[in-house]
């Protein structure tokens, strides 16, 4: 068997005293669709950000495709095949929705300033961007400014932009939040399709019914630690997982 696509080892992240991630380790095989769940503030987003490099852990290592990428800057990791959609949307507000995605689709054009200077014309990348917008169901907003769009659109823009990088590993942070029931079901189907066509996906999501429906494996994070890992039904039946969610609910109620 070949090395896993992603390997995360003993990651520890601290924000002034607070341990946001506390020694998390897991690996993910090529071609799989894995869900990462856990109560609010468990450290899910932070853990994924250590994979993309936007958060630097105080300890631990991340490998992609057997290569240790822990020391690489964010843009190098993106070029090695990591695409992430943000939970808190960050569209480029000075560009149309289409250009947001076209820029990412032009990864080869922007590889260095000289190559970028010599390249003019975006038709090819815009055509690909249009296909991706269509895939996530927001092609009607291609020429709109992100400023004027509802959250559900911007969430899907995040997914399309991450996909435009043609990543080996797609990291999705709550892509279904802000979508209505029908839209969420449809996007979940799309995510499953993207996975079936060869992209490995790690999905953070609070919409448990959709997660249970499309993910082959679930990881559960609680207070920065991984407390469960396995088939979705077994994981959800795990008393420790139930306690973590109940505890969070009790906290919220208090």
């Amino acid at each position: 068997m070949s090395a896993p696509l992603l390997d995360v080892r003993d990651i520890e992240v601290r924000f002034d005293g607070l341990k946001a991630v506390d020694g998390a380790s897991f690996s993910q095989a090529r071609g799989t669709l894995t869900g990462l769940i856990g109560p609010n503030g468990a450290g899910k987003t932070t853990l994924l950000r250590t994979v993309t490099g936007t958060v630097r852990p105080v300890a631990g290592a991340v490998s992609l495709d057997g290569r240790d990428i822990s020391a690489l800057p964010v843009h190098r990791r993106a070029r090695l095949g990591l695409g992430m959609s943000n939970q808190i949307v960050r569209p480029f507000r000075s560009m149309t929705v289409l250009d947001n995605v076209a820029l990412a689709a032009g990864l080869d054009r922007t590889r260095n300033p000289l190559a970028a200077l010599l390249a003019v014309g975006r038709t090819e990348q815009q055509a690909r961007a249009r296909d991706l917008l269509d895939l996530v169901g927001i092609a009607d907003a291609a020429d709109a400014e992100p400023e004027n769009l509802p959250l559900g659109y911007l969430k899907r823009l995040e997914v399309a932009r991450a996909l435009a990088l043609a990543p080996k590993l797609l990291l999705l942070d709550e892509p279904l939040a802000g979508l209505n029931h029908v839209e969420a079901g449809r996007l979940a189907d799309t995510i499953a399709t993207i996975n079936q066509t060869g992209t490995t996906i790690l999905l953070i999501e609070h919409n448990l019914s959709e997660v249970m429906r499309i993910c082959g494996r679930l990881l559960v994070l609680d207070q920065g630690r991984l407390i469960a890992d396995g088939a979705p039904r077994e994981v959800m039946a795990d008393p420790a997982v139930r306690a973590a969610y109940m505890g969070a609910e009790a906290d919220a109620a208090a």
Binding site: T54, F92, A104, T110, A115, R122
Partner: protein
């Protein structure tokens, strides 16, 4: 053309070059600079010293550009780690540092600066044509960059550099390219200015000048090449037409900066777009 018109046109051309050079850094790449006059000054002093030493005008201009770009790269590298508000202070500091150093140096003429700078050898009309040719060239290059993928990448950096990184943009390298290009062109403008005025003093490269250049970029419409060109022409003509303005330059340019940022953040270019859309709406209305 009279001597006055010739001289004024030359000055306009130099200021257009300067404004377009800052537009590459601040307009295209989103990196504020409050010390752009320092690079202008490095170009001016380098070129002036070299032609005085007997070196040709053309190589002196190139050396001025190289000197300015070198300082630009150093400032660029130093500023990679600082956020936008610190960058404003850092570049302002570079501007004051340049003045402070130049004023102290005997060999650079101290407070008195450098006088009796050699002629370019092109004659006044030839010199004007060179200046206008360079300004037109930089204008064309600016339009091209904006259309290229480099301009696209700059847009993303000016917009949100953290997100730009996540789509694979090597933000640091692009910023350094913007700094190097912009400061090199400012250096050329400086070399031209030195051989136009034929006397340079430190104050010609002071804070007021940095603010004037920034005002041209902001009033024109940050990142709009055409807008910045127009603003550079207008803001150069204004103190020439109304002599008394010269005493209140900092006040005027500072005021224009603030007014633009408050009432029309997209500058003249933004106003033109607004006017255009409003005009078209009015046309569509039945008479």
């Amino acid at each position: 053309m009279g001597a006055y018109e010739l001289s004024l046109l030359t000055l306009i051309g130099i200021n257009v070059l300067l404004a377009l050079s800052l537009n590459l850094i601040t307009g295209f790449c989103g990196q504020i600079s409050l010390g752009h006059a320092a690079f202008y000054g490095v170009g001016a002093y380098t070129a002036a010293m070299l032609t005085k030493a007997g070196i040709g005008f053309a190589p002196a201009l190139v050396a001025g550009a190289a000197g300015a770009a070198l300082l630009g790269l150093i400032v660029g590298i130093a500023s990679l780690r600082v956020r936008a508000d610190f960058l404003a202070i850092t570049t302002m500091g570079v501007g004051f540092l340049f003045l402070g150093v130049v004023r102290q140096q005997e060999w650079l003429g101290g407070e008195l600066g450098i006088s009796q700078i050699s002629e370019s050898g092109l004659g006044e009309t030839g010199f004007l044509l060179l200046v206008l040719g360079l300004a037109a060239g930089v204008f064309a290059i600016s339009l091209y960059i904006k259309r290229s993928w480099m301009g696209f990448a700059f847009d993303s950096i000016a917009d949100d550099e953290d997100t730009a990184r996540t789509v694979g943009i090597d933000v640091a390298r692009y910023k350094l390219v913007a700094f190097a290009l912009g400061t090199a062109i400012a250096g050329v403008a400086g070399g031209l200015y030195a051989h136009y005025a034929r006397i340079i003093v430190p104050d010609a490269f002071g804070f007021t000048v940095s603010i004037s250049i920034l005002a041209m970029v902001v009033v024109g419409g940050i990142g709009s090449t055409v807008g910045v060109l127009i603003a550079a022409v207008l803001l150069t003509l204004m103190p020439e037409l109304f002599r008394f303005i010269n005493d209140y330059k900092l006040l005027l340019y500072g005021g224009l900066l603030l007014l633009t940022m408050r009432f029309s953040p997209a500058g003249l270019a933004g106003l033109a777009r607004l006017g255009w859309t409003a005009g078209r709406k009015a046309e569509r209305r039945p008479a």
